[in-house]
Symmetry: C2
Subunit: 283 residues, 2 copies
């Protein structure tokens, strides 16, 4: 997905939000926004939003001197999600369609996103995702391709959300490679975060190599790109991965909550909607 003019004020909001978590030095924060302002003319609307996100969070790290501002928030999100794990596991097991319920719960976890919001309510998100209709629901294609595949490539998104991904992974009952970011960026999951969520017990964790808040291919390592090239069944979680991958020529099932109005427009849905969208799935 390309960037829109409306993304630009939001880039400044994101920089300020991340900056405030990294430091309370108002002068450093002003400098951060000034530097982003100076670079703005180099940011093309043809680039995807996570490319600018990558630039912003690099600047946050450089200017504030804090390499991982969201570290504590990530730990806390994962702890809170782990506390919900047992009851969500039961909800899935008791459900008439356990796979679809696990998908709904995995999407509900996508609300844990400090890039889009300063706060969120995970329990409300779960209730909504369990009760609400999908705006796009390519579930039958998902089921068909899942039955055929021998392995799943699962591109994760945020720390904490990882616990909800684990529930879906357990439900799919196939070998899974779980992909995380190489470097901390916003509250996106790194290997450490995935392990805290217990993903290592249900999948093989690999790094995509990127330090962007989305799977921008030219920033990824060759191992991951090769896996993606050869994957028969790929799941991509969240907005940042959608933004980075939606125009690439791969067969991918995107699972996300359309938290931002611009992405909702791009998908042709309403802000807040839940989406299971297959691209190039051949069905």
């Amino acid at each position: 997905m390309k960037s829109y003019l409306e993304c630009i004020p939001c880039f400044f909001e994101q920089a300020l939000r991340a900056g405030r978590i990294a430091t309370d030095d108002e002068q450093a924060l002003k400098r951060l926004l000034d530097e982003l302002g100076k670079k703005l003319h180099q940011i093309s609307l043809d680039s995807t939003p996570p490319e600018t996100g990558r630039l912003i969070y690099r600047m946050v790290r450089e200017i504030t001197g804090n390499p991982d501002p969201y570290r504590d928030l990530k730990r806390q999100s994962t702890r809170e999600a782990l506390a919900l794990y047992p009851s969500l596991k039961k909800t899935i097991e008791k459900s008439d369609d356990s796979l679809l319920t696990a998908i709904r719960i995995a999407i509900a976890g996508n609300v844990i996103d400090f890039g889009v919001n300063a706060s969120f309510d995970i329990e409300t998100s779960i209730a909504e995702a369990l009760a609400g209709d999908f705006a796009i629901c390519d579930y039958s294609a998902f089921e068909t391709r899942l039955a055929e595949t021998e392995e799943i490539l699962y591109i994760g998104d945020n720390a904490g959300e990882t616990v909800f991904d684990r529930l879906l992974i357990e439900q799919m009952k196939k070998p899974v490679i779980y992909v995380v970011r190489e470097e901390p960026v916003i509250n996106d999951a790194t290997i450490e975060d995935a392990i805290q969520a217990g993903i290592d017990q249900v999948a093989t964790i690999v790094s995509s190599g990127t330090d962007a808040p989305g799977t921008i291919l030219h920033t990824c390592n060759s191992e991951f790109r090769e896996m993606l090239d050869h994957s028969a069944f790929t799941i991509s979680k969240g907005q940042g991965n959608y933004e980075a991958l939606s125009n690439e020529n791969y067969s991918i099932f995107f699972l996300l909550k359309a938290k931002c109005g611009i992405i909702a427009n791009d998908l042709g849905v309403t802000q807040g909607d839940i989406v299971l969208k297959g691209i190039n799935t051949g069905i």
Copy 2:
């Protein structure tokens, strides 16, 4: 009021909102935001938000070539407000405290602000302002000073809101000098807009001389500044005038709706609250 870091993303939103009304040329709009980005490091947080607003709307005019993007919206706002005038006049006349009701209605009109919002609901704003409590209400000081003064200096804000100001002017029953902007900026009222609202029938209209969306004194003409120096009773409408005048050493009654969270914080109230605040009123 000084600017806050949170104002910066909002400056970009304002530029884009005004730019979109002036042109649909996406490249020109990107250039507008890029130019604002380049100038950002020159914008001090010690300056008031309307100073940056002035810069932004100058850039909008220059880059889009449209000298008055809000012209049609202003005309329409005034026409819509005039249609409400007869029933609001009756509401005031029937009220137990007609002056306070006229103040409430004048504040309700302050919702007509394209600088803060892309849309608004004037009828809801009236209902809220008539029914709701003031977060700050220096009404007794207002009444006392009004009884003593021979003349009122009334600093207007937006086109359309002018009609609601007219109702308050009629209720105060004293000679009024009504102050407007010199040049079109956002939907702020100029002389032409005040005349369309019928202000010329109830007050003497003067220009402050400014092309800013707020009464920034160093941008005003000497005639207005002299009036302000000698005024025994001054009313200032809206956020932009509050931002520009709240730290100046004048006796002023500010009438506004705190539409923006930053101004609400500055005033110590909640976003959406209505405010009648006297500064340096000696009471």
